[in-house]
Symmetry: C2
Subunit: 205 residues, 2 copies
Amino acid sequence: MNETKERILDTAERLIGEQGYAATSLRQIIANAGVNLAAVHYHFGSKEELLDEVVMRKGAVMNTARLASLDRAEALAGDKPVEVSAVLDAFFAPMAEVAGANPEFVRLMGRIYSEGLMPAIVQKHFHPTIERFVSAFRRALPNLPQDEILWRIHFMVGAMAHTMLSAPSLPHPAKGETDVQQRMKRLLPFLIGGFRAPASSSEED
Amino acid sequence: MNETKERILDTAERLIGEQGYAATSLRQIIANAGVNLAAVHYHFGSKEELLDEVVMRKGAVMNTARLASLDRAEALAGDKPVEVSAVLDAFFAPMAEVAGANPEFVRLMGRIYSEGLMPAIVQKHFHPTIERFVSAFRRALPNLPQDEILWRIHFMVGAMAHTMLSAPSLPHPAKGETDVQQRMKRLLPFLIGGFRAPASSSEED
DNA sequence: GTCTATACTGAGATAGAC
DNA sequence: GTCTATCTCAGTATAGAC
């Protein structure tokens, strides 16, 4: 790849992850990357399309890992449906793995979510992945109406996005509490409980 | 209140709710409100402080209702802790009520959340409310570590914010599916299940 | 105390020279 | 493929009219 283009991508990833998309100007990016302003528009067309490429550069890898993980879980389950917890694990484990090698990238994704820019990117690039996971959730939760499953995935995405970006202010933050991997581990039981809940608010327990 | 000020607040609420904060310029607001640009800075100081007043004008009422609802639930429970479902209801019912009379305001809040602007406003105005609800959750879930409770509230806020703003794309949207009140009703069982889940991912069911 | 007119700085985008 | 110059529009600040 062109070196100018790559320097822009690297710098944009770092700065947008630190400050957010809106708060990071193209002028700041080009100053840090040591390139000209017009080079951004030449290589990417617009600030928004630059963001798109920043996200997809590593996002595509993560997504492939998600699908592979779901493949493995389905092969392991044979004819039976994959457990909810395993579906969630297939979705979150690759993200945790990326977070290990590249924590600032997951943080960047959290920022993009919280700035409301993710839906457009997801719509554009992640549609097949979503279809696969929706099917898996449906098989795992045969008693839930199909609409209800889509809503719960919606709730999950909200909790995930919020959690990727920020943490509650804890009185005594535990070691590694700021770590994205740890956060995802904490999120999982909550989501499993949420998905397994009955559809109406009838009696349970 | 000054009429100019009120016209600015009304117009800002409507436009920011429709388009988001970043996408709505002061110049667009003043053009629709029929006032001068400098009047905004005279009455509010900055675009950010204008947003603060827009949110708090109705947000304060909603918050008072939340505390009153929690008061009633605690009085009803006597010595026993209030059920998780009742704590969640005290938190969400006032929002659903506001949504009934003023659906665009809840949508505005969703936008503010998703643009990452809510934490600053919450920090500034809603701190006592948060304290009260954290205590109620602690009493309702005595077996969960205190940190875990704060994390789950964090997850709840994420799911809520995301749901206030958007809905999943459903194949056959039910009647009223776009209604914020309906969404909150759907969210509740998911959250109850999430809060009641065991802290670690040990065996359950 | 309220508001109008206007100017300042910095943003994203683009045309055209090289 | 790169860069200079320039355009439009944003938020902000202020001087001064009423």
